[in-house]
């Protein structure tokens, strides 16, 4: 719901596009409260919602409105006062639209944090000023970095509880910076705030005079949106093949449309393409959306491609541009960083299903290179990978996949691991 007219003016009404961000960090650092307060201060909470959480707060014996109730929407979450799974909230300012994901801090729910992080452009990592950098702070920072979130914003929260002491903020900042450097995190900023009192979220408040940087909302309003893929190489995984086969309609008689989303790069009518893994060549005859023709398609557009030649293409095949063929790797072995999410450990004797783009392949663990110790960032030898572990592994594949390195292409470098006995998603992988 919008709050267009309530937002402070930031000059010209430019459209900075959509920004997806998440809040993460350790248990009780104030993630949900931060989002609640941000929505409250931008007038993005409508009257009836506010009334409802006021009532709930009162009933639970609280003195003030508990703004974390805005995102902690499940019964179990409200009973326990914790976040269990991601909540998504939407708001917009005159400048841009936001999709917020409020992630849980509990280690038990790490997989839900990874779920939130996997689609985010920016991460707000909360730290309780009284507690400093904790194991879970490190874990979430590492995961945010691992899934390739380009911007990290460290919010040192609950400043009200330490008398808004600048020295504490500086100490935490240095501690975190040392850790970030070890990881190779480049783009990290710091902000002191009190989510409870609303200091430095939308208003600067009276207590943090020593901080001269921008407010939280200022940072969000101007952060680059990362979901416009930066990879120029055209990648088009085929999702679905359209064959209307209307015998009586000469236009549709031979129609074969390859439906999918441009994951990176762009394509124009007339361009030469290669279909992988079959290595067949053709040219783009037409580009359509809903039967309407377009001259070109760009990253993130869902379109239908028509080719000059009749070649066998089905779901799971990848169309790349002829001039980018060399860069795509067709392989039966992948090396990756893996976050394990299964209740039972990764079992080297079992076959799993790996899904990458629109393609599935049966996979067998080949090797565990190391498991990462989240506190020391040391690589430790590991015979087993259990829930919430992060490890470098390799898989052997029964069918070839068409891959890029995750660092170069988020869409073609990512995969999930599925346990076929439960059909559950048990792992998230990033190809190295």
């Amino acid at each position: 719901m919008s709050a267009i007219e309530h937002i402070p003016e930031f000059g010209s009404p430019v459209d900075n596009g959509l920004l997806r961000f998440l809040t993460c960090g350790s248990v009780d650092d104030g993630k949900s409260t931060l989002i609640g307060r941000l929505l409250f201060d931008t007038k993005a909470i409508l009257a009836d919602t506010l009334h409802a959480i006021e009532k709930t707060s009162l009933r639970r014996g609280m003195e003030a409105v508990d703004l974390s109730l805005l995102t902690d929407g499940l019964q179990a979450e409200r009973e326990q006062g914790i976040t269990i799974d991601v909540a998504y909230r939407y708001f917009s300012t005159g400048r841009r639209k936001y999709i917020i994901a409020d992630a849980p801090g509990h280690e038990q729910y790490t997989r839900n944090m990874v779920t939130a992080a996997s689609t985010a452009d920016l991460a707000i990592i909360l730290i309780d000023a009284r507690k400093g950098v904790l194991t879970q702070t490190r874990r979430h920072s590492y995961l945010a970095h691992l899934v390739g979130i380009p911007h990290l914003l460290v919010a040192v929260n609950k400043m009200d509880l330490i008398g808004y002491d600048r020295a504490v903020f500086e100490r935490i900042r240095l501690e975190y910076l040392a850790f970030a450097q070890q990881l190779g995190i480049k783009d990290v900023r710091f902000i002191p705030l009190s989510a409870l009192n609303g200091d430095m979220l939308v208003d600067r408040g009276d207590n943090l005079g020593w901080y001269e940087g921008p407010t939280l909302i200022d940072i969000l309003e101007s952060a680059p949106a990362a979901h416009s893929a930066s990879d120029e190489r055209f990648r088009f995984p085929v999702q679905f093949v359209c064959r209307p086969q209307k015998a009586d309609d000469p236009l549709l008689h031979d129609y074969r449309g390859f439906m999918g989303r441009v994951e990176s790069g762009g394509i124009e009518v007339g361009d030469e393409v290669v279909v992988l893994p079959s290595e067949r060549h053709s040219r783009i005859k037409g580009i359509q959306i809903g039967g309407r023709s377009l001259p070109r398609a760009v990253a993130e557009q869902s379109v239908t491609l028509l080719l000059e030649d009749e070649i066998d293409i089905s779901r799971g095949d990848m169309i790349v541009r002829g001039d980018a063929r060399e860069s795509a790797l067709v392989t039966r072995r992948i090396e990756a960083m893996l976050c394990w999410m299964g209740e039972s450990p990764l079992d080297a004797r079992r076959k799993y299903l790996i899904r990458q783009t629109t393609r599935d392949a049966r996979a067998l663990l080949d090797e565990i290179a190391y498991r990462l110790d989240i506190n020391s960032l040391q690589q430790v030898a590991a015979g087993e990978i259990g829930m919430n572990d992060i490890a470098r592994v390799s898989f052997k594949l029964a069918q070839p996949l068409v891959v890029d390195r995750y660092a170069e292409n988020r869409a073609t470098g990512a995969f999930i691991v599925i346990d076929e006995s439960t059909n559950n998603t048990v792992g998230a992988g990033m190809i190295l």
Partner: protein
Amino acid sequence: MNAPILDPVLPLRPALDHLDWLEAEAIYILREVAGQCSNPALLFSGGKDSIVLLRLAEKAFRPGRFPFPLLHIDTGHNYSEVIDFRDARACELNERLIVRSVESSMARGTVRLKSADESRNKHQSVTLLEAIEEFGFDACIGGARRDEEKARAKERIFSFRDEFGGWDPKNQRPELWDLFNARVHKGENIRAFPISNWTELDVWQYIAREGLALPPIYFAHIRPVVRKGNLLQPVTDLTPARDGDVIEQLRVRFRTVGDITCTAPVESDADTVDKIIAETATTTITERGATRLDDQASEAAMEQRKKEGYF
């Protein structure tokens, strides 16, 4: 450390505007359902969100037919304008429409109302699960949005339901990137929500951009209503005025349509899409807050219904 690092130099202004982006995402989701599931259905009620879904399905699959039938679970208590619209739209699209009614479930005895005037809304779950079983659907595409309600805000785009149709909010499948997992065992089911990330305002802006037709009750019209707390209850055969009720002729529109017994209109002069957009941008009440009698029953009404198989 050889962890991946993305190049942070990225364009500030994306090539697609936000409606284009939402549309492309929804098309992608619809095609994933079609690609991964063997027998999906699209829930079409004649309401604005499912009307948007149909346009997205056209964009996703034309010039082909939709790779799924349309399915409506009819409580028998819907506005006739909406039912007429539903039938006309399905016909115009030349797609198959399956209607299953709560009344048939009542006749079978699988739905038992506590009293004759109990709302049939929540009983739709039973009829839906019966339809899923009858046709062997492995996925149902729905028009639910995360901004509608706090439990929906928690739900995955591909939401797993067990063989009882139940949603387990404490144990959802991880959903990473856009790598959706629609795999189920027989009897289990996926609910897929292509417009999860849309807001009410996005829906109206899209309706404007695409010039979509809607049932007339979405636009301001004069209707007899009685005030029930902060809600307006329409006066109909099903919901007649009671003794002491004061019937007013007010200019109203519906922000959401559904079962007559649990959907309330709001006062409004907005009789065009543009006026509705203007109102939506400045409203102080949420879509369901102003309109749903069923959500107000308790704090966790929606979560409870979803656990029992509701969309």
